[in-house]
């Protein structure tokens, strides 16, 4: 009895791993082409059919480059934090349910996901701190600031959803959206959730950790090639996770007009990913004190309003 459960978990693990890697690869390629189109130029075209193999070439080249260890850098802390970040992000993706295909359906799965998600910026700060580069130090300090100021609105919106559905298991949340998506029930909650998740995923206009015009490459300044590839991959997987969570919680997961199957979930995820890329191509980075003002005052107020509206049975 225990064995087939184990087999099921391993089977699920493999499927989710493949989807995460495939989506991360596809997201990377789509981003370069999509943002390229915004800038009146084509993205990579020569390799593969539409430049599809370009990311593969980058992946392999980065894998085989040399990692230069700066003298003052703390090697152990650096390695630990890089692999922990990768591990936690993959673990997050594992917890996502797809149609009737999931590992755990306990009633507190959503809280577990967001506790882990709030753990990531601390690891990123640790990584930035360990590479003992002045720019990485500043970006580590900023990642902590971002974490604090965007966690509370995020959790308030989750409480609102949980209260509405009376449980935190994603499957029941998605089932509750069968007739009306949460996007229409709590539009303010959707806006707050989107903004907070953008900050979590380091996307413009909140990409202060990797602000390439000021801090060169933020916490990635001193990461050598193999670990930079890992960080890049983790960045794309986190975007996949963010897009998937948004489409699950607010856009009614696998419920679609004809039959509800996991294809709907992927279409919505890709659509949200395109929206995130659109923001990256257009928006300007906000200054750190404006972000804190936005996080603490605007988002906090909106999430409280959203909580009241849900509580009053709106």
């Amino acid at each position: 009895m225990l064995i087939n459960e184990l087999i099921e978990i391993i089977e699920y693990f493999i499927v989710m791993l493949i989807t995460a890697f495939a989506f991360a690869y596809f997201f990377g390629w789509l981003e370069r082409k999509f943002v390229g189109k915004f800038q009146r130029r084509h993205g990579p075209t020569y390799l593969g059919k539409f430049g599809l193999l370009q990311n593969l070439a980058d992946f392999f080249k980065l894998l085989t480059k040399e990692q230069v260890w700066p003298k003052k850098a703390d090697k152990l802390l650096f390695l630990v934090s890089v692999f922990l970040i990768a591990g936690f992000t993959l673990y997050l993706v594992m917890l996502l349910p797809i149609y009737n295909f999931y590992i755990i359906n306990s009633s507190i799965i959503l809280l577990l996901i967001f506790i882990i998600l709030s753990f990531l910026p601390i690891l990123i700060a640790l990584n930035g701190y360990s590479s003992s580069n002045k720019f990485a130090m500043i970006s580590a300090q900023r990642s902590i600031l971002l974490l604090i100021s965007f966690e509370i609105p995020l959790f308030l919106v989750l409480i609102a959803i949980g209260y509405y559905v009376h449980s935190y298991s994603i499957v029941s949340i998605v089932n509750a959206q069968s007739n009306l998506w949460f996007l229409f029930i709590m539009p303010i909650g959707f806006f707050v959730f989107l903004m907070a998740l953008l900050a979590e995923m380091e996307r413009t206009p909140f990409d202060l950790r990797e602000a390439d015009s000021e801090l060169i490459a933020g916490w990635l300044t001193d990461t050598g090639a193999p670990y930079y590839m890992l960080a890049l991959f983790v960045d794309y997987i986190r975007s996949f996770f963010g897009a998937a969570i948004i489409s699950l919680l607010f856009l009614g997961g696998w419920y679609g007009p004809f039959g509800n199957s996991f294809i709907w979930l992927f279409i919505k995820t890709i659509f949200v990913a395109l929206f995130i890329m659109f923001i990256r191509a257009i928006a300007i980075r906000m200054r750190i004190d404006r972000i804190l003002y936005f996080g603490w005052i605007v988002l906090l107020a909106l999430s409280i309003i959203n909580l009241y509206l849900v509580y009053l049975g709106y």
């Binding site: 390439d212 000021e214 191509a281 300007i284 980075r285 750190i288």
Partner: protein, 364 residues
């Protein structure tokens, strides 16, 4: 609080060239910015003392490699003043057209680089560079070279404008006018842009005069000084040129002055094409230059896109005895410390962007 000293190295994405900044930070606010320059110094003024008169324009153009015609034309005007040559009517119009085209290209490049500093992931950078390419194609059509034109001869230009150059220019200008309005509405309506540009890096009027800055940085602080109006040269008087002056001297008004200057340049070019008489604008070929009178001192100042370019020439028979240059970016950078004091660290780069620096200009 302990002061942190940050060394922003010479090769940095948003220092527009080789400029090392030693920034002392108190937390996130800037206490002092000390620019270290000299990474591109190659002694142009000393070089000028060992070259014949018309061998020097290629070196002068490499000083301000974004506004090439402005520097080249200013130098040739000084030599003309020393030798008492006056370009004919048509040559003056054609020089004004090339100068204004160059000003548009320089401001477009600045706009792209400026938005890229604000963290705009190369989007507006690509758009403005695509438009700038159109203007460069025009200049290439008129002068034959894509970057360094060396198109000025004593008394006129190296070669006449090609046959239907006017229609090409008017098409590109119409396209550019549409693009500039698009950029203006797209950039200025975004509240993110307003947050980072309003009341950032304020330079008051008498500070600007005392520091001696020039060009759009000076006009953004309310000083109504533009060499094209105050010491009019060529046909700017006939084109009734009016300088653009804004009054609150922060980043946004420095940005706005340049955008309006692009529009003003478009109007000037159209006006110049209308009023241009016929005739031949080619200047004197190089080998027929009669020697300049000995020890004649000449001082000529022109309005480049970055500010006032002034040449001080002590003439000798065949080569300048001493050629002193006032390059605008040199002084605008000196004012950086005064402007950036007290701002946030993240504001430092928009301020550097708004000063529109070209490092070869600073290091001479």
């Amino acid at each position: 609080m302990s002061l942190v000293k940050i060394n922003i190295g010479p090769v940095h994405p948003s220092t527009h060239g080789l400029l090392r900044l030693v920034v002392t930070l108190d937390g996130d606010t800037i206490v002092n910015v000390e620019p270290h320059v000299g990474f591109l110094h190659r002694g142009v003024e000393k070089l000028a003392e060992n070259r014949m008169y018309m061998q020097i324009p290629p070196f002068i153009e490499k000083c301000d490699y974004v506004a090439k015609t402005a520097m080249d034309e200013a130098y040739v005007a000084t030599v003309e003043a020393a030798m008492g040559i006056e370009p004919n009517e048509r040559a003056q119009y054609e020089r004004v057209i090339l100068l204004e085209l160059q000003r548009i290209a320089s401001h477009l490049l600045w706009l792209g680089a400026m938005l890229n500093d604000l963290g705009h992931f190369f989007s507006v950078f690509m758009w403005t560079f695509a438009d700038r390419d159109k203007v460069l194609k025009l200049l290439e059509e008129a002068t034959g070279q894509r970057m360094f034109y060396v198109n000025m001869r004593l008394g006129g230009l190296r070669q006449e404008f090609p046959k239907d150059f006017e229609y090409h220019v008017l098409d590109v200008l119409a396209y550019l006018e549409k693009r500039i309005n698009e950029y203006e509405s797209f950039i200025e309506n975004s509240s993110l842009f307003k947050e980072r540009m309003y009341k950032v890096g304020v330079l008051s009027r008498d500070d600007a005069i005392n520091l001696g800055v020039s060009g759009p940085v000076l006009r953004a602080s309310g000083v109504n000084f533009d060499v094209r109006k105050d010491k009019p040269y060529y046909v700017y008087k006939k084109l009734n040129f009016k300088p653009i002056v804004l009054y609150n001297g922060d980043n946004f008004s420095r940005y706005k002055v340049r955008i309006l200057e692009i529009k003003e340049s478009i109007r000037l070019i159209r006006e110049a094409f209308k009023q241009m008489p016929d005739g031949n604008a080619t200047g004197m070929p190089i080998k027929l230059i009669n020697p300049a009178p000995k020890n004649k001192v000449v001082r000529v100042s022109r309005e480049g896109p970055r500010g006032e370019i002034m040449f001080y020439l002590v003439a000798d028979e065949q080569r300048p005895y001493r050629l002193a240059m006032r390059t605008p970016a040199f002084i605008n950078l000196a004012a950086l410390n005064h402007i950036a004091k007290g701002n946030k660290f993240a504001n430092l780069f928009p301020i550097i962007g708004s000063l529109d620096l070209v490092m070869a200009d600073v290091d001479k």
